[in-house]
Point group: C2
Amino acid sequence: MMITLTEENYIKAIYHLGKLGTANVSTNAIAKEMETKASSVTDMVKKLSEKAYVDYKKYQGVSLTEKGKAIAVNIVRKHRLWEVFLVEKLNFLWDEVHDVAEQLEHIKSPKLIDELDAFLNFPTHDPHGDPIPDKDGNFSKLDKVKLSKVAVGETCTCVGVEDSSSAFLKYLDNHKIALGSKIEVIAIEPFDESVTILINASKLNISKHVSNNLFVRTN
Amino acid sequence: MMITLTEENYIKAIYHLGKLGTANVSTNAIAKEMETKASSVTDMVKKLSEKAYVDYKKYQGVSLTEKGKAIAVNIVRKHRLWEVFLVEKLNFLWDEVHDVAEQLEHIKSPKLIDELDAFLNFPTHDPHGDPIPDKDGNFSKLDKVKLSKVAVGETCTCVGVEDSSSAFLKYLDNHKIALGSKIEVIAIEPFDESVTILINASKLNISKHVSNNLFVRTN
DNA sequence: AATAATTTTTAGATAACTCTAAAAATATAT
DNA sequence: ATATATTTTTAGAGTTATCTAAAAATTATT
Ligand SMILES: [Mn+2]
Ligand SMILES: [Mn+2]
Ligand SMILES: [Mn+2]
Ligand SMILES: [Mn+2]
Protein backbone atom coordinates (compact mmCIF):
# COMPACT_ATOMS: atom_id res chain seq x y z
CA MET A 1 0.00 0.00 0.00
CA MET A 2 2.35 2.70 1.23
CA ILE A 3 5.54 3.29 -0.72
CA THR A 4 8.74 2.43 1.11
CA LEU A 5 12.03 4.32 1.09
CA THR A 6 13.64 1.45 -0.80
CA GLU A 7 10.95 1.44 -3.45
CA GLU A 8 11.42 5.18 -3.89
CA ASN A 9 15.13 4.72 -4.42
CA TYR A 10 14.59 2.03 -7.03
CA ILE A 11 12.04 4.19 -8.85
CA LYS A 12 14.44 7.11 -8.84
CA ALA A 13 17.28 4.94 -10.18
CA ILE A 14 15.06 3.58 -12.96
CA TYR A 15 14.02 7.14 -13.80
CA HIS A 16 17.61 8.36 -14.13
CA LEU A 17 18.71 5.31 -16.10
CA GLY A 18 15.68 5.60 -18.36
CA LYS A 19 16.71 9.09 -19.40
CA LEU A 20 20.01 7.80 -20.81
CA GLY A 21 18.38 5.98 -23.73
CA THR A 22 15.15 4.81 -25.26
CA ALA A 23 15.42 1.13 -24.35
CA ASN A 24 14.04 -0.45 -21.22
CA VAL A 25 16.26 -0.29 -18.15
CA SER A 26 18.13 -3.54 -17.53
CA THR A 27 18.37 -5.44 -14.28
CA ASN A 28 22.14 -5.16 -14.27
CA ALA A 29 22.07 -1.41 -14.86
CA ILE A 30 19.81 -0.97 -11.86
CA ALA A 31 22.00 -3.25 -9.77
CA LYS A 32 25.05 -1.20 -10.62
CA GLU A 33 23.32 2.12 -9.94
CA MET A 34 21.93 0.92 -6.61
CA GLU A 35 25.11 -0.90 -5.59
CA THR A 36 23.16 -4.10 -5.03
CA LYS A 37 22.89 -7.53 -6.67
CA ALA A 38 20.93 -8.37 -9.79
CA SER A 39 18.90 -10.96 -7.90
CA SER A 40 17.77 -8.31 -5.43
CA VAL A 41 16.76 -6.10 -8.33
CA THR A 42 14.66 -8.84 -9.87
CA ASP A 43 12.78 -9.29 -6.61
CA MET A 44 12.15 -5.58 -6.21
CA VAL A 45 11.18 -5.08 -9.82
CA LYS A 46 8.50 -7.72 -9.43
CA LYS A 47 7.12 -5.85 -6.47
CA LEU A 48 7.23 -2.51 -8.29
CA SER A 49 5.41 -4.16 -11.18
CA GLU A 50 2.71 -5.52 -8.87
CA LYS A 51 2.28 -2.02 -7.49
CA ALA A 52 2.07 -0.66 -11.04
CA TYR A 53 5.07 1.63 -10.74
CA VAL A 54 6.85 -0.12 -13.63
CA ASP A 55 6.08 -2.20 -16.68
CA TYR A 56 8.04 -5.41 -16.53
CA LYS A 57 8.32 -8.54 -18.59
CA LYS A 58 10.79 -11.22 -17.61
CA TYR A 59 14.20 -10.77 -19.21
CA GLN A 60 13.00 -7.58 -20.96
CA GLY A 61 13.94 -4.92 -18.41
CA VAL A 62 11.61 -2.29 -16.98
CA SER A 63 10.19 1.13 -17.74
CA LEU A 64 8.28 3.46 -15.43
CA THR A 65 4.52 3.76 -15.73
CA GLU A 66 2.97 7.23 -15.56
CA LYS A 67 2.32 6.56 -11.88
CA GLY A 68 5.96 5.60 -11.37
CA LYS A 69 7.23 8.57 -13.33
CA ALA A 70 5.16 11.00 -11.26
CA ILE A 71 6.74 9.61 -8.11
CA ALA A 72 10.23 9.81 -9.58
CA VAL A 73 9.79 13.41 -10.68
CA ASN A 74 8.51 14.37 -7.25
CA ILE A 75 11.56 12.82 -5.61
CA VAL A 76 13.83 14.66 -8.03
CA ARG A 77 11.96 17.87 -7.21
CA LYS A 78 12.48 17.35 -3.50
CA HIS A 79 16.12 16.38 -3.90
CA ARG A 80 16.97 19.49 -5.91
CA LEU A 81 14.96 21.92 -3.79
CA TRP A 82 16.72 20.65 -0.68
CA GLU A 83 20.07 21.07 -2.44
CA VAL A 84 19.20 24.70 -3.14
CA PHE A 85 18.19 25.18 0.48
CA LEU A 86 21.43 23.71 1.77
CA VAL A 87 23.59 25.89 -0.46
CA GLU A 88 21.58 29.12 -0.32
CA LYS A 89 20.58 29.09 3.32
CA LEU A 90 22.87 26.75 5.23
CA ASN A 91 26.29 27.52 3.73
CA PHE A 92 26.83 24.11 2.20
CA LEU A 93 29.22 23.90 -0.74
CA TRP A 94 27.89 22.35 -3.93
CA ASP A 95 29.94 19.22 -3.38
CA GLU A 96 28.54 18.68 0.14
CA VAL A 97 24.82 18.59 -0.55
CA HIS A 98 24.18 15.33 -2.33
CA ASP A 99 24.27 12.86 0.56
CA VAL A 100 22.06 14.99 2.75
CA ALA A 101 19.62 15.58 -0.11
CA GLU A 102 19.49 11.81 -0.61
CA GLN A 103 17.98 11.59 2.86
CA LEU A 104 15.80 14.70 2.74
CA GLU A 105 14.18 13.72 -0.57
CA HIS A 106 12.24 11.00 1.25
CA ILE A 107 10.52 13.27 3.77
CA LYS A 108 6.79 13.05 3.23
CA SER A 109 4.74 16.16 3.78
CA PRO A 110 2.23 17.71 1.40
CA LYS A 111 2.92 21.16 2.75
CA LEU A 112 6.65 21.06 3.39
CA ILE A 113 7.96 20.92 -0.13
CA ASP A 114 5.70 23.60 -1.56
CA GLU A 115 6.47 25.95 1.29
CA LEU A 116 10.17 25.27 0.83
CA ASP A 117 9.78 26.01 -2.87
CA ALA A 118 8.17 29.37 -2.04
CA PHE A 119 10.73 30.11 0.67
CA LEU A 120 13.48 29.66 -1.91
CA ASN A 121 11.61 31.84 -4.42
CA PHE A 122 10.70 29.02 -6.79
CA PRO A 123 14.18 28.21 -8.05
CA THR A 124 14.33 26.65 -11.52
CA HIS A 125 17.73 24.98 -11.16
CA ASP A 126 19.70 23.29 -8.41
CA PRO A 127 23.31 24.13 -7.40
CA HIS A 128 24.62 21.83 -10.14
CA GLY A 129 22.49 23.46 -12.84
CA ASP A 130 19.96 20.64 -12.99
CA PRO A 131 16.36 21.70 -13.59
CA ILE A 132 13.83 21.57 -10.77
CA PRO A 133 10.39 20.32 -11.81
CA ASP A 134 7.47 22.40 -10.59
CA LYS A 135 4.52 21.17 -8.53
CA ASP A 136 2.96 19.64 -11.65
CA GLY A 137 6.14 17.91 -12.74
CA ASN A 138 7.06 20.31 -15.55
CA PHE A 139 10.72 21.04 -16.13
CA SER A 140 11.95 24.40 -17.29
CA LYS A 141 13.80 23.88 -20.54
CA LEU A 142 17.23 25.43 -20.87
CA ASP A 143 19.27 24.61 -23.91
CA LYS A 144 22.65 23.88 -22.55
CA VAL A 145 25.53 22.36 -24.45
CA LYS A 146 28.78 20.78 -23.42
CA LEU A 147 31.72 23.19 -23.39
CA SER A 148 33.58 20.69 -25.57
CA LYS A 149 31.09 21.48 -28.35
CA VAL A 150 31.69 25.21 -28.31
CA ALA A 151 33.76 26.59 -31.20
CA VAL A 152 36.95 28.59 -30.80
CA GLY A 153 36.26 32.29 -30.42
CA GLU A 154 32.80 31.84 -28.91
CA THR A 155 31.77 33.14 -25.52
CA CYS A 156 29.43 31.28 -23.21
CA THR A 157 28.16 31.04 -19.65
CA CYS A 158 28.64 28.07 -17.37
CA VAL A 159 25.20 26.70 -16.40
CA GLY A 160 25.72 23.17 -15.14
CA VAL A 161 27.81 20.09 -14.63
CA GLU A 162 27.43 16.61 -16.07
CA ASP A 163 29.66 15.02 -13.44
CA SER A 164 28.70 16.15 -9.96
CA SER A 165 31.28 14.12 -8.10
CA SER A 166 32.99 15.90 -5.25
CA ALA A 167 36.33 15.53 -7.00
CA PHE A 168 35.13 17.32 -10.12
CA LEU A 169 33.29 20.05 -8.20
CA LYS A 170 36.32 20.75 -6.05
CA TYR A 171 38.46 21.00 -9.18
CA LEU A 172 36.07 23.64 -10.48
CA ASP A 173 36.15 25.47 -7.15
CA ASN A 174 39.93 25.49 -7.16
CA HIS A 175 39.97 27.03 -10.62
CA LYS A 176 37.20 29.51 -9.84
CA ILE A 177 34.81 27.99 -12.31
CA ALA A 178 31.26 28.37 -11.04
CA LEU A 179 27.72 28.48 -12.40
CA GLY A 180 27.39 31.89 -14.04
CA SER A 181 31.07 32.17 -14.96
CA LYS A 182 31.69 33.72 -18.38
CA ILE A 183 33.96 31.59 -20.53
CA GLU A 184 35.58 32.37 -23.87
CA VAL A 185 37.05 29.51 -25.84
CA ILE A 186 40.53 30.60 -26.93
CA ALA A 187 41.93 27.45 -28.44
CA ILE A 188 41.40 23.72 -28.72
CA GLU A 189 44.53 21.57 -28.75
CA PRO A 190 44.18 19.04 -31.58
CA PHE A 191 46.45 16.54 -29.86
CA ASP A 192 44.51 15.87 -26.63
CA GLU A 193 41.43 18.04 -27.18
CA SER A 194 42.28 20.10 -24.13
CA VAL A 195 40.73 23.56 -24.23
CA THR A 196 42.27 26.91 -23.42
CA ILE A 197 39.65 29.24 -22.05
CA LEU A 198 39.49 32.80 -20.84
CA ILE A 199 37.77 32.95 -17.47
CA ASN A 200 37.90 35.57 -14.74
CA ALA A 201 40.20 37.62 -17.01
CA SER A 202 42.87 34.93 -17.10
CA LYS A 203 43.76 32.03 -19.34
CA LEU A 204 43.25 28.45 -18.21
CA ASN A 205 43.84 25.15 -19.92
CA ILE A 206 41.33 22.43 -19.12
CA SER A 207 41.34 18.79 -20.14
CA LYS A 208 38.84 17.18 -22.46
CA HIS A 209 37.30 15.45 -19.45
CA VAL A 210 36.56 18.82 -17.89
CA SER A 211 35.22 20.46 -21.06
CA ASN A 212 33.11 17.39 -21.61
CA ASN A 213 31.50 17.62 -18.18
CA LEU A 214 30.72 21.33 -18.12
CA PHE A 215 27.44 22.59 -19.52
CA VAL A 216 27.29 26.08 -20.94
CA ARG A 217 24.77 28.37 -22.57
CA THR A 218 26.13 30.11 -25.66
CA ASN A 219 25.22 33.77 -25.76
CA MET B 1 27.06 -1.01 14.20
CA MET B 2 25.08 1.84 12.72
CA ILE B 3 21.97 2.99 14.54
CA THR B 4 18.68 2.35 12.77
CA LEU B 5 15.68 4.66 12.58
CA THR B 6 13.70 2.24 14.72
CA GLU B 7 16.38 2.11 17.38
CA GLU B 8 16.40 5.90 17.46
CA ASN B 9 12.66 5.99 18.00
CA TYR B 10 12.86 3.51 20.87
CA ILE B 11 15.67 5.48 22.50
CA LYS B 12 13.68 8.68 22.19
CA ALA B 13 10.59 7.04 23.70
CA ILE B 14 12.62 5.69 26.62
CA TYR B 15 14.10 9.14 27.14
CA HIS B 16 10.71 10.85 27.30
CA LEU B 17 9.23 8.17 29.54
CA GLY B 18 12.27 8.28 31.80
CA LYS B 19 11.70 11.97 32.49
CA LEU B 20 8.28 11.25 33.98
CA GLY B 21 9.66 9.51 37.08
CA THR B 22 12.72 8.09 38.75
CA ALA B 23 11.98 4.43 38.18
CA ASN B 24 13.12 2.37 35.23
CA VAL B 25 10.95 2.51 32.14
CA SER B 26 8.68 -0.51 31.82
CA THR B 27 8.20 -2.66 28.76
CA ASN B 28 4.48 -1.92 28.68
CA ALA B 29 5.03 1.84 28.91
CA ILE B 30 7.32 1.70 25.90
CA ALA B 31 4.86 -0.48 24.01
CA LYS B 32 2.09 2.01 24.64
CA GLU B 33 4.23 5.00 23.66
CA MET B 34 5.44 3.31 20.48
CA GLU B 35 2.07 1.81 19.61
CA THR B 36 3.58 -1.63 19.39
CA LYS B 37 3.42 -4.90 21.34
CA ALA B 38 5.27 -5.68 24.55
CA SER B 39 6.95 -8.66 22.93
CA SER B 40 8.39 -6.44 20.24
CA VAL B 41 9.68 -4.10 22.92
CA THR B 42 11.42 -6.93 24.75
CA ASP B 43 13.22 -7.92 21.55
CA MET B 44 14.30 -4.38 20.82
CA VAL B 45 15.34 -3.67 24.38
CA LYS B 46 17.68 -6.66 24.24
CA LYS B 47 19.28 -5.27 21.14
CA LEU B 48 19.59 -1.79 22.63
CA SER B 49 21.19 -3.37 25.67
CA GLU B 50 23.69 -5.27 23.54
CA LYS B 51 24.57 -2.02 21.81
CA ALA B 52 24.96 -0.36 25.22
CA TYR B 53 22.27 2.26 24.69
CA VAL B 54 20.30 1.04 27.72
CA ASP B 55 20.82 -0.81 30.97
CA TYR B 56 18.45 -3.72 31.11
CA LYS B 57 17.76 -6.59 33.44
CA LYS B 58 14.98 -9.02 32.72
CA TYR B 59 11.65 -7.98 34.23
CA GLN B 60 13.24 -4.83 35.68
CA GLY B 61 12.66 -2.33 32.88
CA VAL B 62 15.30 -0.15 31.22
CA SER B 63 17.15 3.11 31.66
CA LEU B 64 19.33 4.94 29.16
CA THR B 65 23.10 4.77 29.46
CA GLU B 66 25.09 7.97 28.97
CA LYS B 67 25.64 6.87 25.39
CA GLY B 68 21.90 6.35 24.94
CA LYS B 69 21.01 9.62 26.57
CA ALA B 70 23.37 11.55 24.29
CA ILE B 71 21.63 10.06 21.28
CA ALA B 72 18.19 10.86 22.71
CA VAL B 73 19.11 14.46 23.45
CA ASN B 74 20.48 14.91 19.95
CA ILE B 75 17.25 13.61 18.45
CA VAL B 76 15.26 15.97 20.67
CA ARG B 77 17.52 18.81 19.55
CA LYS B 78 16.93 18.00 15.91
CA HIS B 79 13.20 17.55 16.38
CA ARG B 80 12.77 20.92 18.06
CA LEU B 81 15.06 22.85 15.74
CA TRP B 82 13.14 21.53 12.76
CA GLU B 83 9.89 22.56 14.43
CA VAL B 84 11.23 26.09 14.81
CA PHE B 85 12.27 26.09 11.16
CA LEU B 86 8.86 24.94 9.99
CA VAL B 87 7.02 27.59 11.99
CA GLU B 88 9.43 30.49 11.55
CA LYS B 89 10.40 29.98 7.94
CA LEU B 90 7.80 27.80 6.25
CA ASN B 91 4.54 29.16 7.64
CA PHE B 92 3.54 26.00 9.49
CA LEU B 93 1.17 26.39 12.41
CA TRP B 94 2.31 25.00 15.74
CA ASP B 95 -0.13 22.13 15.49
CA GLU B 96 1.16 21.08 12.06
CA VAL B 97 4.83 20.56 12.77
CA HIS B 98 5.05 17.43 14.86
CA ASP B 99 4.61 14.72 12.21
CA VAL B 100 7.09 16.32 9.84
CA ALA B 101 9.61 16.86 12.65
CA GLU B 102 9.24 13.17 13.51
CA GLN B 103 10.69 12.43 10.09
CA LEU B 104 13.26 15.22 9.92
CA GLU B 105 14.75 14.35 13.31
CA HIS B 106 16.31 11.23 11.77
CA ILE B 107 18.30 13.01 9.06
CA LYS B 108 21.97 12.35 9.64
CA SER B 109 24.41 15.12 8.83
CA PRO B 110 27.11 16.54 11.06
CA LYS B 111 26.88 19.91 9.38
CA LEU B 112 23.16 20.23 8.73
CA ILE B 113 21.86 20.60 12.24
CA ASP B 114 24.46 23.09 13.43
CA GLU B 115 23.99 25.23 10.36
CA LEU B 116 20.24 25.07 10.86
CA ASP B 117 20.74 26.13 14.47
CA ALA B 118 22.77 29.14 13.35
CA PHE B 119 20.32 29.96 10.55
CA LEU B 120 17.53 30.12 13.15
CA ASN B 121 19.68 32.27 15.45
CA PHE B 122 20.24 29.60 18.07
CA PRO B 123 16.68 29.37 19.40
CA THR B 124 16.35 28.16 22.99
CA HIS B 125 12.75 26.96 22.77
CA ASP B 126 10.57 25.28 20.18
CA PRO B 127 7.11 26.48 19.07
CA HIS B 128 5.52 24.66 22.01
CA GLY B 129 7.85 26.23 24.56
CA ASP B 130 9.99 23.13 25.00
CA PRO B 131 13.70 23.77 25.52
CA ILE B 132 16.18 23.04 22.74
CA PRO B 133 19.44 21.46 23.92
CA ASP B 134 22.58 23.02 22.51
CA LYS B 135 25.34 21.22 20.62
CA ASP B 136 26.69 19.80 23.87
CA GLY B 137 23.32 18.63 25.12
CA ASN B 138 22.73 21.38 27.67
CA PHE B 139 19.22 22.64 28.14
CA SER B 140 18.44 26.24 28.97
CA LYS B 141 16.55 26.28 32.24
CA LEU B 142 13.36 28.29 32.39
CA ASP B 143 11.25 28.06 35.49
CA LYS B 144 7.79 27.65 34.16
CA VAL B 145 4.74 26.72 36.17
CA LYS B 146 1.29 25.51 35.26
CA LEU B 147 -1.28 28.28 34.97
CA SER B 148 -3.48 26.30 37.38
CA LYS B 149 -0.88 27.01 40.10
CA VAL B 150 -0.98 30.79 39.68
CA ALA B 151 -2.82 32.72 42.40
CA VAL B 152 -5.72 35.08 41.78
CA GLY B 153 -4.51 38.60 41.03
CA GLU B 154 -1.17 37.52 39.61
CA THR B 155 0.02 38.32 36.12
CA CYS B 156 2.08 35.92 34.02
CA THR B 157 3.29 35.16 30.51
CA CYS B 158 2.40 32.06 28.52
CA VAL B 159 5.62 30.17 27.75
CA GLY B 160 4.61 26.64 26.84
CA VAL B 161 2.13 23.81 26.61
CA GLU B 162 2.05 20.48 28.38
CA ASP B 163 -0.39 18.94 25.90
CA SER B 164 0.70 19.59 22.34
CA SER B 165 -2.15 17.76 20.65
CA SER B 166 -3.60 19.47 17.64
CA ALA B 167 -6.97 19.73 19.39
CA PHE B 168 -5.51 21.64 22.33
CA LEU B 169 -3.33 23.89 20.18
CA LYS B 170 -6.25 24.77 17.94
CA TYR B 171 -8.33 25.62 21.00
CA LEU B 172 -5.59 28.04 22.06
CA ASP B 173 -5.43 29.53 18.56
CA ASN B 174 -9.19 30.06 18.54
CA HIS B 175 -8.99 31.92 21.83
CA LYS B 176 -5.93 33.91 20.83
CA ILE B 177 -3.75 32.35 23.47
CA ALA B 178 -0.17 32.11 22.19
CA LEU B 179 3.35 31.87 23.57
CA GLY B 180 4.14 35.35 24.86
CA SER B 181 0.54 36.21 25.72
CA LYS B 182 0.16 38.16 28.97
CA ILE B 183 -2.38 36.59 31.28
CA GLU B 184 -3.86 37.92 34.50
CA VAL B 185 -5.71 35.49 36.74
CA ILE B 186 -8.99 37.18 37.68
CA ALA B 187 -10.80 34.41 39.50
CA ILE B 188 -10.79 30.70 40.16
CA GLU B 189 -14.18 29.02 40.37
CA PRO B 190 -14.16 26.78 43.46
CA PHE B 191 -16.75 24.44 41.97
CA ASP B 192 -14.96 23.18 38.84
CA GLU B 193 -11.61 24.95 39.21
CA SER B 194 -12.19 26.79 35.94
CA VAL B 195 -10.18 29.99 35.70
CA THR B 196 -11.24 33.41 34.55
CA ILE B 197 -8.34 35.21 32.97
CA LEU B 198 -7.70 38.59 31.42
CA ILE B 199 -5.99 38.13 28.06
CA ASN B 200 -5.77 40.48 25.07
CA ALA B 201 -7.73 43.02 27.11
CA SER B 202 -10.76 40.78 27.46
CA LYS B 203 -12.03 38.26 29.97
CA LEU B 204 -12.02 34.56 29.20
CA ASN B 205 -13.05 31.54 31.22
CA ILE B 206 -10.94 28.45 30.73
CA SER B 207 -11.45 24.94 32.09
CA LYS B 208 -9.19 23.26 34.61
CA HIS B 209 -7.91 21.04 31.80
CA VAL B 210 -6.72 24.11 29.92
CA SER B 211 -5.14 25.84 32.91
CA ASN B 212 -3.45 22.58 33.78
CA ASN B 213 -1.86 22.24 30.34
CA LEU B 214 -0.58 25.79 29.94
CA PHE B 215 2.86 26.72 31.22
CA VAL B 216 3.48 30.29 32.30
CA ARG B 217 6.29 32.36 33.72
CA THR B 218 5.19 34.58 36.61
CA ASN B 219 6.58 38.08 36.35
C1' DA C 1 1.36 -17.67 52.54
C1' DA C 2 -1.27 -19.10 48.95
C1' DT C 3 -3.98 -17.64 45.04
C1' DA C 4 -5.19 -14.51 41.46
C1' DA C 5 -4.09 -10.84 38.33
C1' DT C 6 -0.81 -8.46 35.73
C1' DT C 7 3.44 -7.86 33.44
C1' DT C 8 7.15 -9.57 30.90
C1' DT C 9 9.54 -12.88 28.27
C1' DT C 10 9.94 -16.75 25.02
C1' DA C 11 8.62 -19.53 21.00
C1' DG C 12 7.35 -19.64 16.54
C1' DA C 13 5.72 -17.05 12.26
C1' DT C 14 5.52 -13.40 8.91
C1' DA C 15 6.99 -9.47 5.84
C1' DA C 16 10.52 -6.61 3.61
C1' DC C 17 14.91 -6.58 1.73
C1' DT C 18 19.16 -8.56 1.00
C1' DC C 19 22.64 -12.15 -0.33
C1' DT C 20 25.10 -16.50 -2.72
C1' DA C 21 24.86 -20.15 -5.80
C1' DA C 22 22.63 -22.53 -9.39
C1' DA C 23 19.43 -22.73 -13.31
C1' DA C 24 17.25 -20.65 -17.30
C1' DA C 25 16.99 -17.43 -20.96
C1' DT C 26 19.08 -14.31 -24.11
C1' DA C 27 22.87 -12.43 -26.79
C1' DT C 28 27.31 -13.11 -29.10
C1' DA C 29 30.79 -15.57 -31.67
C1' DT C 30 32.34 -19.00 -34.51
C1' DA D 1 23.29 -23.32 -36.60
C1' DT D 2 25.81 -24.53 -32.76
C1' DA D 3 28.63 -23.42 -29.03
C1' DT D 4 30.01 -19.93 -25.79
C1' DA D 5 29.41 -16.02 -23.01
C1' DT D 6 26.50 -12.94 -20.65
C1' DT D 7 22.39 -11.62 -18.44
C1' DT D 8 18.53 -12.59 -15.75
C1' DT D 9 15.80 -15.31 -12.80
C1' DT D 10 14.95 -18.76 -9.19
C1' DA D 11 15.97 -21.32 -4.94
C1' DG D 12 17.26 -21.11 -0.48
C1' DA D 13 18.90 -18.57 3.38
C1' DG D 14 19.99 -14.46 6.63
C1' DT D 15 18.66 -9.96 8.93
C1' DT D 16 15.57 -6.63 11.03
C1' DA D 17 11.42 -5.68 12.97
C1' DT D 18 7.00 -7.06 13.74
C1' DC D 19 3.06 -10.13 15.43
C1' DT D 20 0.15 -13.91 18.26
C1' DA D 21 -0.07 -17.24 21.68
C1' DA D 22 1.85 -19.51 25.47
C1' DA D 23 5.06 -19.72 29.42
C1' DA D 24 7.45 -17.51 33.22
C1' DA D 25 8.10 -13.99 36.57
C1' DT D 26 6.41 -10.36 39.32
C1' DT D 27 2.88 -7.87 41.84
C1' DA D 28 -1.54 -7.54 44.17
C1' DT D 29 -5.26 -9.64 46.83
C1' DT D 30 -7.26 -12.37 50.05
MN1 LIG E 1 22.23 15.49 -5.89
MN1 LIG F 1 22.03 18.33 -7.87
MN1 LIG G 1 7.04 17.64 18.40
MN1 LIG H 1 7.62 20.62 20.10
